[in-house]
């Protein structure tokens, strides 16, 4: 088994080419990533081979170099929300996807996150969402972080909404959220509080199952 794995897997090697330019200021490195083998990925995620193939085709089409940097990510995500400005939310999403904080998303990161979101257990999904909200990764969601997130979501709506968006709409939303989630009223939401509160809410539970059949 190990032999098979060893033979078939192509190690992830970042290949960097240095352009020979006389101008030292513009030394460009073209980074090209090749992902781990299909078998390895299949073992690590909850997707089967065919689904991984479909995912990789889409991924490679948009990012031929094999990595997504933040700008490309923002661009791609903004295409789905033509009305408003999706860049802030895309920034938070990018950080959530980029588990290793390398500044770029490789196919493995992409597929790992998707595996959690689409095929993971409820706890995993909630944990992922908690990580998304916890911008500074300190284990707590405080009001400022939540306000940032909610404001980013509202930005995606754009200008032309009905009813007209008011300035304090995010704040109201955040207050409602904390009302629900913050059990011990200490001003921050921990992971346990979060998971507990979400499990109590039928709507949230139901909507988490919404995207089961996306692939």
């Amino acid at each position: 088994m190990g032999l098979v794995m060893g033979t078939f897997s192509v190690q992830t090697k970042p290949v960097t080419y240095h352009k020979d330019t006389a101008d030292d200021d513009f030394e460009m490195t073209i980074v090209c990533h090749r992902p781990e083998g299909l078998d390895q990925l299949e073992a690590q995620t909850n997707f089967n081979k065919r689904e991984l193939q479909v995912l990789y085709r889409g991924f490679k089409n948009e990012c031929p170099s094999g990595v997504v940097n933040e700008d490309t990510f923002k661009q791609i995500y903004s295409q789905f929300f033509p009305h408003g400005d999706a860049s802030t939310y895309a920034h938070y999403l990018f950080n959530a996807f980029d588990a290793g904080h390398t500044g770029s998303i490789k196919f493995e990161d992409f597929v790992t996150a998707l595996s959690i979101l689409l095929r993971g257990s409820v706890t995993e999904k909630l944990q992922w969402t908690f990580n998304l909200y916890d911008i500074n990764r300190d284990g707590y969601i405080n009001k400022e972080e939540m306000t940032d997130i909610v404001r980013a979501i509202y930005d995606m709506m754009g200008k032309y909404t009905y009813p007209v968006l008011k300035t304090d709409a995010p704040k109201q939303h955040v207050d409602a959220f904390f009302q629900k989630m913050d059990k011990n009223r200490d001003g921050v939401v921990t992971l346990d509080e979060f998971i507990l509160s979400c499990q109590e809410d039928e709507n949230i539970m139901r909507s988490l199952q919404l995207f089961e059949n996306v692939i």
Partner: protein, 633 residues
């Protein structure tokens, strides 16, 4: 939505899980794929050459032939492939459009065949990428010009109902249309020639009486010449008056160059008639006769080349101006130098600087009459420098003028650029429209989709459900995503008009988005004042008759749709929001099939009572409303 990112839609939808804990409302049902096929390779047989691609690739553009169900018409059951009897070379570009999202125009391809193929496959040429767009447009323009030239030869077909005036004008402008016009054309040409020759011969010395000096013929045969002149002027006058009568736009005709030439040609005669035998002004009268030579310019109506020359000179005005200016500079410089150089010598012809101008001009243009020559050594040195530089100064601007002439003669560039600018604007507008289509598509489908749900609930026939299913699966998934976002934030997407209207109604507080959006077509601008000064509100929207949007509008139903009215206004936001918030506690079912629409209020549009400016204050109570309550359950 662009093609390539269609593959990322699953990711965007998965990421929507991040909104779920924040959302207060239940999410809409996700669209199901009725028959979820595994992605398969389909074969496109184009005149024998087989192309293969994924089915999903073609599905990216559902409004083209290959992306829609139209291709089923070309499906061959036996060979299990789609057969198209078209050009395979062009098809390559078409298929690459699906693959990469960019349409390229191959340079070797004929423009009309390319256009035909694009039209067949339902692709709008405006999407051609910037890399190939210039070339495409140039070729298209050339083609159009060629077609126009061919058409112009057939243009002179006589229209059936032309008034006498129009016929005359056409006869004047295009002499070869009828024999009458041709006769008139040659007669006037003949008389112009006669008039010019008369003017010339008038001054030739004829034979003289033996004891007198030579007299010009004009004075010898005064009567004959006078009769000739009169006849010509009469013909010219008649011609001018006829043209004036026939002209479609008389004022414009009178301002045109040709008519001014006509007037100047015949005016001296009439002035001469008026001021006869007045010795004081006879000198002036004589000079007026000079203007008779302008009759020769009337020939330009008869000669196309002359007109082009005149037009070239007019358009090369800047180059000619430069030539003149540089010559003037050089003349002044050298005249000054020569004057001071020749000052010393005796009996010098260079009496003043203006007097030296003549020498400088004659030398610089290499004429060299020799009536003024420098005598001193310094004068000779500077004189030679003058002649050498003259050659240079004149030789430099002349090729510019020549190239201008050839450029104008072959192509009318300025008109093309103007046309291209307009086309460019039109193209950008079309691209913007197609982009706007994607966002307005969501609004449309919202109305359509809910319309259909309403129909379902009123248990209408199954056929009417088809109305909403026409959008592709991709689109419906995208719309579902946007719908989820609406639910999360508890606000809806609306179009601009509706927004401005509700803005005027609702608070003056506006939620300012943080940064200008990357992909939205409208930039984030505008303050309160600019918004108010816009006169966007269409007359249909009744700004002063708010209908109540009571709690009856269930958050899941935004049922404006039965008629295209948006005269539903809300009261001050706080109440409506609280009323909406009340909904949360209700266990609203996720399934949209169950009881959704309780009632909806549709207001029939009434004519506008106030202008938008009058809406500075919030309308408080409802004025007269025509409210129709529709119960849909």
């Amino acid at each position: 939505m662009a093609a390539g990112v269609a593959a990322w839609l699953p990711f965007a939808r998965a990421a929507a899980i991040g909104w779920m804990p924040v959302a207060n409302l239940p999410m809409p049902v996700a669209p199901t794929e009725k028959n979820k096929r595994q992605d398969e390779v389909i074969i496109l047989n184009v005149s024998g050459r087989r192309f293969q691609t994924w089915r999903n690739t073609l599905d990216r553009y559902p409004d083209t032939l290959l992306g829609s169900s139209e291709k089923e018409f070309f499906y061959n059951e036996e060979t299990k492939e789609y057969f198209f009897d078209r050009d395979p070379d062009v098809f390559r570009s078409v298929l690459n459009f699906y693959r990469t999202g960019k349409l390229h125009y191959p340079r070797y391809e004929c423009i009309s065949s390319y256009d035909e193929e694009l039209a067949f496959f339902g692709i709008v040429p405006e999407i051609i990428g910037d890399c190939c767009y210039e070339e495409y447009k140039d070729r298209k323009r050339e083609n159009a010009e060629r077609l126009m030239d061919d058409q112009e030869d057939n243009k002179d077909a006589k229209l059936p109902n032309m008034t006498f005036r129009e016929t005359m004008w056409r006869a004047f402008e295009n002499p070869h249309t009828s024999t009458m016009a041709l006769v008139f054309y040659y007669v006037t040409g003949f008389f112009i020639a006669v008039s010019v020759i008369t003017n010339v011969v008038e001054t030739v010395p004829c034979g003289s009486a033996p004891n007198q000096k030579e007299v010009p013929c004009g004075e010898r045969y005064t009567v004959a010449f006078f009769c000739m002149d009169t006849a010509c002027v009469m013909i010219f006058t008649v011609e001018y008056l006829m043209r004036l009568f026939a002209a479609p736009n008389r004022y414009r005709f009178m301002r045109s160059v040709m008519s001014i030439i006509d007037v100047v040609a015949i005016l001296p005669y009439y002035i001469g008639l008026v001021m006869t035998d007045n010795e004081d002004v006879s000198g002036a009268f004589v000079t007026l006769r000079v203007f008779r030579v302008f009759r020769i310019f009337k020939f330009s109506r008869h000669s196309q080349g002359l007109r082009i020359l005149g037009y070239t000179l007019k358009s090369c005005a800047s180059e000619l101006g430069f030539l003149l200016f540089s010559l003037t500079m050089a003349i002044i410089i050298f005249a000054t130098v020569m004057f001071y150089a020749e000052k010393g010598s005796s009996s010098s012809k260079f009496t003043s600087i203006p007097a030296s101008f003549w020498y400088t001009i004659v030398t610089m243009t290499t004429l060299g009459y020799g009536d003024m020559v420098p005598k001193t050594i310094a004068g000779k040195i500077f004189g030679s420098i003058c002649s050498l530089s003259g050659v240079l100064v004149i030789a430099l601007p002349v090729p510019v003028i020549v190239s201008n002439f050839s450029r104008i003669y072959h192509q009318n560039q300025r008109a093309d650029k103007r046309r291209a600018q307009k086309v460019q604007k039109a193209r950008l507008a079309r691209i913007r429209l197609s982009k706007a289509g994607s966002s307005s598509a969501f609004l449309h489908s919202k109305r359509n989709g809910l319309f259909n749900e309403a129909l379902e609930l009123t248990s209408s026939t199954k056929e009417e459900q088809h109305l909403g299913k026409s959008s592709s699966l991709l689109e419906s998934q995208h719309h579902h995503l946007l719908h989820c976002l609406e639910k999360t934030t508890n606000h809806e997407f609306v179009d601009e008009q509706y927004y401005q209207q509700s803005y005027l109604e609702g608070g003056l507080q506006n939620y300012p988005p943080r940064s200008p959006s990357l992909s939205s077509q409208d930039g984030v601008t505008g303050t309160c004042c600019s918004r108010r000064s816009k006169k966007h509100n269409t007359p249909l929207r009744n700004a002063s008759a708010p209908a109540h949007m009571q709690p009856l509008t269930h958050p899941q139903t935004h049922h404006h749709g039965l008629q295209e009215l948006s005269t539903i206004h809300i009261q001050p936001l706080s109440t409506s929001r609280s009323s909406l918030n009340m909904r949360i506690d209700e266990p609203a079912p996720l399934n949209c099939q169950s009881s959704q629409i309780t009632t909806a209020i549709i207001s029939i549009p009434t004519p506008p009572v106030t202008t938008p400016e009058g809406d500075a204050h919030l309308p408080t109570g409802p004025s007269h409303q025509n409210v129709v309550k529709v119960s849909a359950l």
